[in-house]
Symmetry: D2
Subunit: 281 residues, 4 copies
């Protein structure tokens, strides 16, 4: 397995898209040295964006997290989240009524911003659910898993409504060795139990890459070959970037451990263009 | 869809195996008329057993439930549960150490009866899990879904141990229109998240039918053609009975609604030998 | 199930995207009356495109089929095929070497147009496959299923290369009651057997809708709410259109039979905005 | 990864069940030294059986293959095949009419021995299929994959009949580095395409282990702890043996390569009691 130096790779591109968790951040906070990488990009006129499967916070709140930790360059307009994809869908396809959601009240931001009324599954009276026109899975927190997952199953048996999964990750790291089940993992279980087809947003789906591409092209003329995707997860970041037709870097600071990277690439057939230890320069 | 009268069907057999939930019981208790059916069987010297995907109670406790509701003929030796299959596995293949479990402390009976120490996932210290030699999924109650399902995922990342699913049902009815997620549904999610192969007991797996068959043959000479399986669920009762080579009756008092029975049989290709409205005679 | 008149629906939009098979064509050829529908659209200044999961022919060859059957208005620039998505991927991500393919030599057009050398799996010597840099599944015809599917499995065991599925349909109709397995069905089997993740193009993937959208916007200013997707298949046309945020019409002239449409919508949870008997006006 | 000597392991048991392919045989024929192992077992009064996912030949024909290659001790009554399970099912549950099959005419033996008429899918007229009461998948040879798999799909769309898979293996080795798709792999594709639930026989299903156990107990009193299963495949031999409650040995002469054995055990969570290089003593 050949490791490349991130600085030599990144200098070949005009725009870099970073995954957030496992690339810029980990369970302890910002990965040391990331600030330096951002400065390096700016010095070399390389633009950057953050593509994150996160629907738990608004773009502004996501950016605030970086700014409060010493990286003022990461502003809300640099953030492209799977929650924004869900917001577009709700705006375009669910034009009235109330949307039920699984997640924190903070995550309901995306639904309310689309002009829709919201009700947490926690507060839903399943016997009076006739006005519910969609169910959105936003976050793994903010509800009681036992009572509210059961309530979601019964809602979907009673009402034939679209179900939107705003984050298709299965798990996320909570410490060096441990993970937690993400809302995408809960979504898979619910989908199988009710036998319906949910609508998933977030990497590897190309819709998020397309959104980023169109966003970037409003600022500058760019070709796909000038964009680099940097991620820690083969199944989302690398598969999604490859499929969209841009070059990809796997970093070893998150989900894919150094010792298992080569083995996982061979097993899955998901092949990054480069492997770097981290984005630290 | 041709409906048969249960009494005319059952008179062709020497032994009847009933599923419990949706056949003899529902969310309100014993289905009215079931007591009469049991008497009918006794009058005609037809033996009976109850094959249930239930690991939440011991056979004695399961039988007590019927006896307290007016059917003294249903004794512990009539009960054949998926929990008993799990108990056999633990006895034969996990001969020392501690077994972690998801379920109520009552359901841990099966593990303790196999001579093993138990610890509820609820009480497990994940950082001191070296003595855990198996994980058993017994019941959907008795633990906190959010904290304890996450703990189970991390246990299976840290320890390569067998995982036993003692009830492979996905859901169970809680009222006329509503269901709850069963431990088999949670098991499917965990299995996918950790990427390992769990060991499942309970219908449709033939191990439970074989256990019943051997059990019955200790009492009387019997051929498979003399045994009838009666159930409300195509995927478990009917598929399992068919595969084991015995005749099957679908009843419409549980999971399979009258209006959808024909459609579900055509869609799944799981074909009962008979359809009866109920076991009531 | 409420049926709408196609003409009254289509007048609300500026652009219509049609699926081909089951909507404009069937096993007998062009569906009678489709020519009239095309004229109706032109009279009302409604633009149209054809979005087809077809990689067996070039856009020009696809258009020729309509022109020879009396619809000269369907020209190559109206055709948007999953093969064009595969072509983009190959151009951007597989920049040298030889691409092996399953399909007719005609279908290899998409690969050769991307500037790559091709070899049919039929002609591949599996012991000299070191120069093969990708495998593309284009069509279910043009090879021997037994020998060449086995050869594909062994190629993917020997070489860790990207696999591109240029048509994700499972089956296609060959007569009023019969279907044939499409290359997307074969792809699913190969993917499971080798345990790798293939890259799929074609509806319901949003990449094809995005391509169409960008294509349309080169000709005119348009919003998503002005585009209508018309298809006969819930899993591809309707799911893909819904997810992309445009309105959808299910027609009953193809995969989804009148008698089963309502039942399939309820079972899958894939809900079209309208149902029309056909596109005939 | 600790390797055990096969002779020291086997001496702890009274009966050994061998998988055939990858354990006793490989693509070149009988593995050198296997004859010696059989003699060793006989000297120590250890009985043996062969449990094979093979429905392409009768038990007698399977045994003939060993006898002609110099192991006269392997007689027909030592062979327990998945084809025998299919035969039992057909005898018990499909009592009249004609059974269509995918496989060689030789493999149709199991169906004909159950007293049923057979027709190869190859010879079936799909428009006159009203008398077909079951479809059995026996072997990957003896039919044209393209025309006859398509015919099987259309048969299952026209007739709601049970489908029996008499060999659930996905692939089998054809040379040191290459494999071929087995009928179990084709079965998975057909099952997904038609959306029905097939009935699978063969390891890891416990029905085959139960059959062996009952067969052995007709000859001698035996407990499960006295039986050892020896196989080269985690997913079938080891999972099946573990679940049935008997001890298991993984050998490295077939599907599971030495270099990857530990990694595959960790990844799948299917844990053999012992690992031996081979059965050669």
């Amino acid at each position: 397995m050949q490791l490349h130096d991130f600085s030599s790779v990144v200098l070949q591109y005009k725009v870099v898209c970073f995954d957030a968790y496992g690339v810029l951040k980990n369970h302890k906070g910002i990965i040391p040295g990331v600030q330096n990488t951002i400065h390096f990009l700016q010095q070399h006129n390389i633009d950057f964006y953050i593509l994150t499967n996160d629907a738990s916070r608004s773009p502004q709140q996501l950016a605030d997290g970086y700014q409060q930790r010493g990286i003022p360059e990461i502003t809300a307009n640099k953030m492209i989240s799977s929650g924004m994809m869900a917001w577009e869908f709700l705006r375009d396809k669910v034009d009235h009524g109330t949307v039920a959601y699984l997640g924190t009240s903070r995550s309901a931001h995306y639904v309310e911003d689309a002009g829709l009324k919201t009700v947490s599954i926690r507060d839903l009276d399943i016997d009076h659910a006739d006005s519910i026109n969609a169910l959105v899975l936003l976050d793994d927190e903010g509800f009681n898993w036992e009572t509210d997952l059961n309530k979601a199953v019964n809602l979907l048996r009673a009402r034939n409504i679209p179900v939107i999964v705003a984050n298709s990750d299965y798990t996320y790291p909570t410490s060096r060795n441990q993970v937690a089940i993400a809302v995408g993992g809960l979504a898979d279980m619910l989908e199988k139990l009710v036998g319906k087809t949910f609508i998933r947003f977030g990497k590897p789906d190309s819709q998020m890459f397309t959104f980023a591409y169109n966003h970037i092209r409003q600022e500058q003329e760019i070709r796909k070959r000038d964009i680099l995707m940097v991620g820690d997860t083969l199944r989302t970041d690398i598969l999604g970037g490859n499929k969209f037709g841009i070059d990809t870097v796997l970093v070893l600071t998150g989900n894919t451990l150094s010792l298992k990277a080569q083995q996982m690439i061979e097993r899955t057939g998901i092949i990054p263009d480069y492997i770097c230890q981290s984005v630290v320069i």
